[in-house]
């Protein structure tokens, strides 16, 4: 997940000082919308053309990454001694805003192209076969941290809910308003888990209680926390950060 908020806000205020440089340099059109607002008189068409080109290339990179993805290649696993302590908290809000769901009344809803049971209690999820992994979580910001997750293999879970695994996307909606989606090939990867535990303890609130997705073959923001809805679909579901310009596939 991303730390965010401050940066986007700052952009708007740090612009005027570089206006002169921008006029001379080619990169003036590649800056944020906030920049555009300040650079009144700047040609909007060119700005939009550059934005469209960048987004088109990002989608093209999605295709390249899907092509590079080897469904049998495993993310490196580490000894427990390598685990990062303390593991960073990261979200688009501060730690005090972390949702605290009630485990007893919690139900995971599965919708879309799935024939099986659509509502799962936490007890039922814990009763499914569990596997562990110690893998590196890599944030789109660049930092990384090694953690231990334990939970249900997502490919097993998709089988149990009778998901159509020929569908293109799996979408996730979360209790904190976050949402994201991944490709089916990554969803079926053997290391993709519905994580229920972190460091052998019940998943703490701050790391996504009651369940989060753990995908070590993708960047951190593709690992949604506090999942409440899973949707199997052929309609592109987008994502919180993806809809704001981050690359959708974001594979490792």
């Amino acid at each position: 997940m991303k730390r965010f908020g401050a940066e986007q806000g700052l952009e708007v205020f740090s612009r005027p000082q570089i206006e002169n440089i921008e006029r001379r340099l080619f990169m003036k059109r590649g800056l944020s919308l906030g920049t555009l607002a300040l650079l009144s008189g700047c040609d909007v068409t060119d700005f939009e053309t550059v934005q469209k080109t960048l987004l088109a290339m990002s989608r093209w990179n999605d295709g390249v990454q899907a092509w590079l993805f080897d469904p049998r290649r495993l993310a490196p696993e580490f000894p427990e001694a390598a685990i990062t302590e303390p593991f960073p908290f990261n979200a688009f809000y501060g730690e005090s805003k972390v949702p605290r769901l009630d485990g007893a009344s919690y139900r995971l809803q599965v919708g879309g192209l799935a024939r099986g049971r659509s509502s799962w209690s936490l007890y039922e999820l814990h009763a499914l076969p569990q596997v562990s992994q110690v893998t590196r979580h890599i944030c789109v910001e660049g930092w990384s941290a090694i953690g231990k997750w334990r939970g249900v293999r997502f490919s097993y879970f998709l089988g149990r809910v009778g998901a159509d695994t020929t569908a293109r996307y799996v979408g996730f909606k979360c209790a904190d308003g976050y949402y994201t989606s991944i490709d089916m090939a990554s969803a079926l990867h053997p290391q993709t888990l519905l994580a229920l535990r972190f460091s052998d303890r019940i998943l703490p609130y701050r790391y996504g209680f009651p369940i989060r997705l753990r995908v070590p073959t993708k960047l951190g923001f593709k690992n949604p926390k506090h999942i409440t809805h899973i949707d199997i679909t052929n309609t592109y579901p987008g994502g919180y950060w993806e809809d704001r310009g981050y690359n959708w596939y974001s594979g490792s």
Binding site: E7, L68, W241, N247
Partner: protein, 210 residues
């Protein structure tokens, strides 16, 4: 004797050079913005010097620039090897001569009498720049795809090692660029030569190029 015009840089070298300028500019300026999102060291790059506006925008630029840099670089290396350009212009690099040239340059005597030939310090610097670009691409691939390209990261310390390799090779390349630009300012006709590919050599005895 009359002045005569000689060819210094082939069209392939000039095109790949200027495409590379554009690509490296995109990569370095967007890279600084990406660095700022999680700085490795206790400093950040001035936001005003960066490209992309915020992290997502910088990443978009970086992952467009990487294609330009890599494809252009592969074309250049293929040309350099196949045409004999590398063999003729960049090698051999003798350490003793390099030291001699650098010392001379530091004393203000830049030995570049004939633009058709590089001195030893230039050859070393240009070879280093090529190697740095290769290291940047390889470490960049490890950062972009630490799982799929895990094997590439074995010698540079996996993902976290690649962050440092990427940073330091960027720093070294930027140092090269700074020196390179200063040298061009000191010998300005080299700039025109990299555009036209040609240089007018004055006839002997009429005060030829120094």
């Amino acid at each position: 004797m009359e002045d005569h015009v000689v060819k210094v840089h082939s069209l392939a070298v000039r095109i790949t050079h200027w495409v590379n300028v554009f690509a490296v500019l995109i990569m370095v300026l967007s890279g600084w913005r990406i660095y700022n999102a999680a700085p490795l060291f206790p400093f950040s790059f001035p936001a005003g010097l960066t490209l992309g506006g915020w992290l997502a925008g910088a990443l978009q630029w970086h992952f467009v620039g990487m294609w330009l840099l890599t494809i252009n670089g592969l074309c250049y290396i293929a040309y350099g090897v196949c045409s004999g350009h590398f063999r003729r212009r960049l090698f051999p690099v003798s350490p003793a001569e390099v030291i001699q040239d650098v010392k001379a340059a530091l004393r203000g005597r830049i030995t570049h009498p004939d633009l058709r030939f590089y001195n030893a310090a230039q050859r070393a610097a240009y070879v280093a720049a090529i190697v740095l670009c290769v290291v940047l691409v390889v470490s960049g691939l490890v950062l972009w795809k630490p799982v799929q390209f895990h094997a590439l990261g074995v010698f540079i310390g996996d993902y976290e090692g690649a962050r440092y390799a990427h940073f330091f090779s960027m720093a070294a390349l930027v140092t090269f660029i700074a020196i390179h630009v200063v040298m061009v300012l000191l010998v300005p006709r080299t700039f025109a030569t990299m555009v036209t590919g040609r240089i007018r050599l004055r006839a002997a005895g009429s005060g030829g190029p120094q």
